[in-house]
């Protein structure tokens, strides 16, 4: 925890009709980070976002955004936030341009020429310039999502809260959104939820996983991908595989060895309890005698999907 955290929550909880939707959430979001918020449907992601925005009130606990209280200073907080709802809805009688003008005027009153310039460039950014004067009621889901992203970032917010930003977008649109988010990192903090784990792995620096309203994993993405079930080395071996396995089995820091074979290469997943000793002794021991060929060697890196599934299905990769 640092004093400059953009978002901090302490025991933040929300229940609906006695059912807890969010349980004691303790979270810190650092400035200029891209914070990925994951979890299955109904995990409490949207609830958390709505609590931060003051759209709903906490049942217990609380939080601060920019050091301001989420319940007491909500309007002040929202003057520095951009928000994209999960299913963005706008006034049907307005065009995209009018919607952006309406949104921008909650934050800025002039000069008119510069406001117009900001709107034009935002329309270009999200690829809606040619549809700017069409009534919103004719927009497709993807176009509405693009407009949602445009209105969320039109005020250049200090914190961008995006609820499923890539939902209803085609692969090209998804790519554009990820690029916009990466570009914005220099100027803003992005707090977003998604189901698309590839996207999270590509651009997030910190990840939190919620399940049934509880925070089950939280930390830098590198830590999460490294796993938390101890240090595991992944080694591909050809040649005298049995001899190699026999030699490393006798090492004192070895906890477990699992092997599998694919395309003539045997893969050892070697769990160790002394990382330093393993780094210095494991590879030389494998290569002793020269009959075994090591094809690849390194710390096992988990895919986010693997981590996510393990956690959500009751595994043990929680990093904090």
């Amino acid at each position: 925890m640092t004093g400059s955290a953009i978002v901090q929550t302490h025991g933040l909880s929300k229940s609906y009709n006695g059912t807890l939707a969010l349980k004691n959430l303790d979270l810190t979001v650092q400035p200029n980070s891209i914070f990925g918020f994951l979890g299955p449907n109904g995990a409490g992601k949207t609830t958390t976002m709505k609590l931060l925005l003051g759209l709903i009130r906490p049942t217990s606990g609380g939080g601060q955004v920019f050091g301001l209280d989420i319940t007491r200073d909500s309007v002040e907080i929202r003057s520095r936030i951009g928000y994209l709802p999960q299913d963005p809805r706008f006034y049907q009688h307005m065009t995209a341009r009018e919607t952006l003008d309406y949104t921008l005027r909650f934050f800025f009153s002039g000069p008119p020429a510069l406001l117009r310039e900001r709107i034009e460039e935002t329309l270009e950014l999200v690829g809606l310039a040619d549809k700017a004067d069409r009534p919103i009621k004719g927009f497709s889901g993807g176009e509405r999502q693009r407009l949602g992203i445009a209105q969320a970032q039109i005020n250049y917010p200090d914190l961008l809260i995006l609820d499923e930003p890539a939902a209803s977008l085609d692969p090209l649109g998804r790519h554009d959104v990820l690029e916009v988010m990466s570009r914005l990192r220099k100027h803003t903090t992005v707090f977003y939820s998604t189901h698309i784990l590839d996207d999270v792995q590509q651009i997030s620096d910190t990840v939190a996983i919620l399940n049934h309203g509880e925070l089950v994993a939280y930390g830098p993405i590198e830590t999460l991908l490294a796993g938390s079930g101890g240090v595991v080395f992944s080694i591909g071996v050809k040649g005298d595989v049995a001899g190699a396995q026999s030699r490393i089995s006798g090492l004192p820091f070895i906890v477990d060895i699992q092997s599998s074979e694919k395309a003539g290469v045997t893969r050892f997943l070697v769990s160790v309890n002394d990382e330093t000793a393993a780094e210095t002794q494991l590879l030389p021991t494998l290569l002793q005698g020269g009959a075994a060929i090591v094809v690849d060697y390194g710390r096992k890196r988990y895919e986010l999907e693997e981590v996510f599934m393990n956690i959500v299905e009751g595994g043990s990769h929680a990093s904090q």
């Binding site: 309007v75 009688h93 909650f106 934050f107 800025f108 510069l114």
Partner: protein, 263 residues
Amino acid sequence: MPANKDLTPVYSRGWRGGLRNMLRGELDRWFGTRTWWTQALLWVFIINGLLLAILAQDETVGIPDVTTLYGIFAGMFPSIAVVIAAQDAIVGEKEKGTAAWVLSKPVSRIAFILSKVIGYGLGVLVSLVLIPAVIAFLEFRFVGGLTIDPGKFALGIGVLWLYLCFYLLLTLMLGTFFSARPAVIGIPLALAFGQQLLFGILPAAIKVMPWTIAIPIGDMDFSIISAIMAGRHPYDMTPFYVACAAMVLFIAVGLWRFQREEL
């Protein structure tokens, strides 16, 4: 792109946060679309059409008669329109998710409700009250040959607007409590038209319920509006004062309830 430092920030915060822009949006919704003129046209057709038919057919009709008829036509029918127009103002925004979207911007919940009250109030004033009233005044003068004091007529029009605002504010307040439209429409309409039944069961209710502001009942010859326009002393102003107090209550309760709304 212009940087934020090049733009003039909006400083209104607290309960006024976002009020100006919300109000601009509400006025645009009414006056920037065809709503204002379609409503005006409809009520001119109904109110002024009925008055024209009466004035053209009956040459003996006098100021007390026409102001009484005007109070009935302009008070009873448009009160239905007010309820129907305003029922969607809050319930619709909650249902469609636009309330949550707007309130994710620096907008206070008080500003949200006040913008609806002012926006719809001005829309009703122009389309349902002022335009038919100006035409009615000209009809009285040039078709009926009746000269009504413009000051008294304007005062009566002001009371008529407040009468319609009673139903407007009741509907908006109910919108903060309910998520279903039937309750938001049904309660004000039941109140508007069930008052006659209530007077049969509880005659003393005549003294407090707003019905007699626009419509004479029982042995009354004229309503409060027609009495004011015709330069007579109203039977009793209590219904008007009760309606004014109720309107203040509706706003206060609506604001209180909406602060607790989970969006």
